[in-house]
């Protein structure tokens, strides 16, 4: 089964390896892409339909019915902001559809704090993604596709 992952925010799609954090850049968290937020981008929305199993101000995880999971991380080292400038809009454990708002934030404010607002969007239970978009993207547009869990090689 192939899961189509939608862009959770407006911006420009860039390769994961450009993220200024080796653990994301080397796809240690998982394979995917990153989005450089567009100016004025505010709402970050669910990239897949499923259950919002974890939501923090700076990151959230949605798990699809087949067990595949997508992490959206809002900026790098933004856990250090302790939620300041972020508003969580959806309850942990609730079902979400593609496009449902999950977090409101201001990427420009993150940049003003000297942090990168780039957003890695990664599949947590996959070894690769395919059909990845490039360049400008709007929320809800196709970002990448990923096979269901357990269909790739085990992590090693």
């Amino acid at each position: 089964m192939v899961l189509r992952v939608a862009a959770p925010l407006a911006g420009t799609v860039v390769p994961l390896y450009t993220v200024p954090d080796r653990v994301f850049a080397d796809a240690i968290v998982g394979p995917g892409v990153a989005i450089e937020p567009a100016r004025g981008s505010r709402a970050v929305t669910a990239p897949i339909a499923g259950i919002l199993v974890k939501v923090k101000p700076h990151a959230f995880v949605v798990v699809a019915p087949d067990g595949q999971a997508v992490l959206v991380h809002l900026g790098i080292d933004t856990v250090s902001l302790a939620g300041e400038g972020f508003t969580v809009l959806a309850a942990e454990g609730s079902p979400v559809a593609i496009g449902d708002p999950v977090v409101d934030w201001d990427p420009a404010a993150v940049r003003d704090r000297g942090l990168s607002p780039i957003c890695p969007v990664v599949a947590l239970e996959a070894t690769a993604v395919f059909d990845a978009a490039t360049g400008p993207i709007q929320p809800g547009q196709a970002l990448f596709s990923v096979a269901g869990p357990g269909t790739g090689a085990p992590l090693s």
């Binding site: 954090d21 968290v29 999971a69 992490l71 090693s156």
Partner: protein
């Protein structure tokens, strides 16, 4: 069955970066390592980043690691070192 209890030292607990490094170290061990909260009954596959993130481990929380098989003691010593912060933030 080898077992360890360790307090997680990373400034942000087991969030995405340290969780990913821990999960990779667990996967590289070749053993079916499990992790759970030290005060809880259940544990999860330490090789699944989704499962580890869902544990929502914060700084100072104690977790229990278990593994069976050849080299299990050595593997758990290595994973304890990761969680205790000796290279939990190796991404920097």
């Amino acid at each position: 069955m080898a077992e360890r209890v360790v307090a997680v030292a990373g400034a942000d607990g087991l969030h995405a970066r340290p969780a990913a490094l821990f999960v990779r170290a667990a996967a590289e061990s070749g053993l079916a390592v499990r992790i759970g909260r030290a005060d809880g009954e259940s544990d999860v596959d330490a090789r699944s980043i989704l499962a580890v993130l869902a544990l929502d481990v914060r700084r100072g929380d104690e977790v229990r690691l278990c593994a069976d098989g050849e080299g299990a003691e050595r593997v758990l010593d290595r994973l304890v070192a990761v969680l205790a912060g000796e290279d939990a933030d190796a991404g920097h």
